[in-house]
């Protein structure tokens, strides 16, 4: 029933499986090479669980040198490689294919150096996002990008997807907080981009690598920026009678010269779901809810919140909840932070990630409602209003193949809507396989060809993550003629089991 195609596995690679595995064992310790089908199961999908494929093998290197040795061995045999961190990708960025070797970076999870005078940390790519902040927290620092999966997701994965989070309105996304990477190219060459200085010596290759979804090389180490923690942070919650009023309030806060660290939006459906789960005291009669967070000393926060509340009043705010204590603040955030989990309790869902210009928020929300209604589905909207990054959760039943197809179709319609409204397909999750075939809606052939030419400059044989990002059709000769989609739409092993 699934509609997304993978590249057709190369039979000559499948036939050489034993040879490939033994060449991996010749450059890695035995326990760092996984080839047993039962153990491979753990790697067959990621956070985009509707699709799965068993990889040819998985390697778990412990150093940049080992990664380089693996790539040298695989490049000679022209075997596709799928880089993998924690496997939390929501767009299938880490889903393997049958003729590919997964290079998992999870064993490379050391923090190599913390340098406070220069406000940077040098880490291995498999370190989790949150553990960086935890390591420097006692000394008053943090690493800013905070995707919802930060407990599990790795910095290597964050670099691949240019991850954001709730606080990027003030602190930016991964690319704005990255000072350097060590990267292994397709043939095993190791390059270093950036040594801790702020700008590149030549072309901005670091900017190119960030957000490239594991298509240009394997990032094994990173240098990230550390920032001094703010004196304090405090949220306020507003309930409005319409999303238009909430949207206007956001625009006026920004126009007043206030840049809060976060402005989160929830619609009525999301409010109901989260309140039922978190009992956070959210106003059930509101059509739209905003959580606005400010930072600073007590006096600064009181001053900013005073201005923000006054602006909200001008837009007929119905409910105002100011947090008087850390417990109340945590409660306000609890509802928002549990949104995905709470939604998962009431239904299966797919989460879209389109971003739209701020002026289009109200329109896109309304149209999103119309689209899901047309498919006979429901959606809950939770998103980062300050940067226009929408996250409609389309609710469906995973065991109902018809509904599942409808949910996918509705999701695609919503993403086309985001692009048509002047936005883009994905703000922080990445294209992966999920949105690959929609790329032609945002970019024309020339735009895509330019990207593909740059991709080929790094990886001429299209060894890295070849099923992702670029539509299989229209690849022409750019990927070495590999792009014959698997015409066989047979169910993957997991689907067959269902």
């Amino acid at each position: 029933m699934t509609s997304i195609q993978f590249l057709k596995p190369d039979p000559s690679i499948l036939a050489r499986r034993d040879d490939i595995v033994s060449s991996l064992r010749s450059v890695l310790p035995d326990e760092a090479v996984v080839s047993d089908p039962v153990q491979l199961r753990a790697f067959e999908t990621d956070g985009f669980t509707a699709y799965r494929r068993l990889p040819l093998a998985v390697v778990l290197p412990s150093s940049t040198e080992e990664v380089a040795a693996v790539m040298e061995a695989l490049a000679r045999k022209k075997v596709p490689v799928v880089p993998r961190g924690a496997g939390t990708s929501l767009c299938g960025g880490a889903i393997p294919q049958e003729d590919a070797v997964i290079v998992s970076l999870t064993r490379m999870s050391r923090i190599l150096e913390v340098d406070y005078p220069n406000r940077l940390a040098r880490v291995e790519a498999g370190v989790t996002n949150l553990s960086i902040s935890e390591a420097v927290s006692a000394d008053g620092f943090f690493y800013a990008p905070d995707p919802s999966s930060q407990l599990a997701c790795t910095i290597g994965g964050n670099i691949a997807m240019n991850s954001g989070g709730a606080h990027c309105l003030k602190y930016g996304v991964t690319t704005n907080n990255l000072l350097g990477v060590t990267m292994v190219l397709y043939d095993g060459t190791v390059i270093r981009l950036g040594e801790g200085e702020l700008d590149p010596a030549g072309l901005d290759l670091l900017g190119l690598v960030c957000g490239s979804e594991g298509q240009l090389g394997l990032v094994t180490e990173a240098i990230v920026r550390l920032i001094a923690k703010p004196a304090g942070a405090q949220p306020v919650l507003f309930g409005f009678a319409s999303s238009e009023k909430a949207g206007d309030c956001v625009a006026d806060i920004i126009a007043a010269g206030i840049i809060p660290v976060a402005i989160e939006f929830m619609d009525k459906e999301a409010i109901a779901i989260c309140e039922a789960f978190a009992k956070a005291g959210y106003p059930l009669d509101a059509e739209a809810l905003l959580i606005v967070e400010v930072e600073g000393s007590d006096k600064e926060m009181a001053d900013q919140l005073g201005r923000i509340v006054e602006i909200a009043r001008r837009h007929d705010v119905q409910t105002i909840k100011e947090s008087q204590s850390a417990t109340e603040a945590a409660l306000i955030w609890k509802g928002r932070k549990s949104a995905f989990g709470a939604t998962g309790r009431v239904a299966d869902y797919i989460c879209m990630d389109g971003t739209v210009p701020l002026s289009q928020l109200a329109y896109v929300l309304k149209e999103t409602g119309e689209i899901v209604k047309r498919y006979g589905l429901r959606a809950a909207n939770v998103f980062h209003a300050g940067d226009g990054n929408m996250h409609p959760l389309i609710l469906y039943d995973v065991n109902d193949p018809v509904k599942r197809q409808k949910a996918e179709d509705a999701g695609n319609d919503i993403l086309r809507l985001c692009v048509d409204a002047g936005g883009c397909l994905t703000g922080e999750h990445g294209v992966g396989i999920e949105k690959r075939d929609l790329m032609t809606h945002q970019y024309n052939d020339t735009d895509l060809d330019q990207m593909k030419a740059v991709r080929a400059a790094f990886d001429p044989e299209w060894i890295f993550n070849p099923s992702k990002v670029f539509p299989l059709e229209g690849r022409g000769e750019t990927d070495g003629g590999k792009a014959s989609a698997d015409p066989d739409t047979r169910p993957s092993p997991m689907e067959a089991a269902e």
């Binding site: 220069n118 702020l198 030549g202 703000g427 740059v454 080929a456």
Partner: protein, 407 residues
């Protein structure tokens, strides 16, 4: 080909389509082009071009909505025109682009495209990002004469490869920018700058690092050693070394944070406070490298290093040659003037490499020095190969600003 500083043919396309046609024609003929915006940022290697391609007629603000904090502008738009529109809406570029007039003695009007092409940034860069961090989308014509777009008008976007970042700072060698979309920001209510006086460079860098480890949100962190201090604010600061910390925001908040920093550093002597008007002039002087605006025959280098390393490299350099310097970005950006008049690029690069790495770029020098002294930092060998392949992916015939970044 005989090197010449000015090509004899000049092409001024009226719009993007004409520009694409011109580049396609040049590609077919193999005619190297020098890409020109306002002509104010004359650094990098001189280009051996047979024609100059100007973006001057691609001018005008396409869309600017202050509520969205985003502006889309044609590349040839004079920066002053966009600045005026931003001022009217009480907004600004957060990356504080340097104006190179002062340092280089150039004339002409800087363009938005030129600003992006050199990734022009200023003092706030070390906390708020460079021009590339505010750049959301681009349209450009590649070396095949094709019109390409990448990125968009939204602040979060990971749709396909990010070609926006490498377009910034590629000096017109990957493509001719035709339209750019930039993030802007509301201006703060006020600002103030604290000046600690009389510190040696090493101590100054330590003070700035301590300030950055607090929650005071310092948005400018510079150190002007003796002599350079006297060259800003028309001399009003005096020549005593000045370690400078800028605070921006609401009046009460700036005041509160200033008091906190004064309490921290009070033991170092009396701390002067510069009010908003003087603070603004001070940081625009630092941004535009005012201390080295005179003695224009002397070369100026720009060292980009880790904050704790740059002053040590400068110290080492001074043991070997006459050099003046001052520091921005918490010490990580060192502007260095070679007082002997020679560029001494071998010495400069060796010294940077020996002190933790980073890179040195020759910003001010005569055209012949810029031709032979290699203005951009030479790269490690695997990077040279990779960069070459990337350049070929944009400009296979090598007709766009050939030799500007790499000989």
């Amino acid at each position: 080909m005989i090197p010449s500083d000015k090509a004899d043919r000049r092409i001024e396309p009226a719009d993007e389509t004409e520009l694409a046609d011109a580049v396609r024609e040049a590609a077919e003929e193999g005619t190297p082009l020098e890409i020109e915006g306002g002509g104010t940022r004359t650094f990098g290697r001189p280009v051996d071009a047979l024609a100059t391609l100007s973006t001057a007629r691609l001018s005008g603000i396409v869309a600017y909505s202050p509520n969205e904090m985003v502006a889309t502008v044609k590349a040839g738009t004079p920066l002053t025109e966009l600045q005026a529109a931003l001022d009217e809406a009480n907004q600004r570029f957060v990356f504080e682009p340097i104006d190179h007039h002062t340092l280089l003695g150039t004339e002409g009007k800087p363009t938005v495209g030129g600003m992006v092409a050199v990734n022009a940034s200023g003092p706030r860069r070390f906390v708020a990002g460079a021009c590339r961090d505010s750049l959301l989308g681009v349209r450009f014509v590649n070396g095949r004469g094709e019109i390409v777009k990448n990125g968009g008008r939204v602040m979060k976007n990971v749709t396909g490869l990010d070609l926006v970042k490498p377009m910034a700072g590629s000096f017109g060698t990957l493509g001719v920018l035709t339209e750019v979309t930039l993030k802007v920001q509301p201006k703060p209510e006020t600002e103030a700058t604290l000046a600690v006086r009389g510190l040696l460079e090493a101590d100054a860098v330590t003070v700035l690092a301590h300030a950055m480890a607090t929650s005071t949100d310092v948005t400018g962190a510079a150190h002007l050693p003796e002599l350079t201090a006297g060259k800003v604010l028309d001399g009003a600061l005096g020549s005593e070394p000045a370690t400078l910390m800028r605070l921006e925001g609401f009046e009460s908040s700036v005041h509160e944070r200033a008091e906190k920093l004064k309490a921290m550093f009070g033991r170092l002597g009396e701390i002067e406070t510069l009010d908003a008007e003087r603070s603004q002039r001070l940081w625009s002087d630092i941004r535009d490298v005012k201390p080295f605006a005179d003695q224009r025959q002397r070369p100026v280098w720009r060292l980009s290093m880790k904050p704790s390393d740059a002053h040590e490299a400068v110290m080492a350099l001074r043991m070997e040659a006459g050099a003046s310097a001052f520091y921005d970005w918490q010490g990580g950006l060192a502007w260095v003037r070679m007082e002997g008049g020679n560029t001494l690029s071998g010495l400069v690069r060796k010294t940077v490499a020996a002190h933790g790495g980073g890179h040195a770029m020759l910003i001010r020098a005569t055209p012949s020095e810029r031709r032979f002294a290699v203005p951009f930092q030479p790269q490690a060998k695997p990077l040279v190969t990779l960069e070459k392949r990337i350049r070929d992916a944009f400009d296979p015939k090598g007709i766009l600003n050939p030799g500007k970044m790499v000989a």
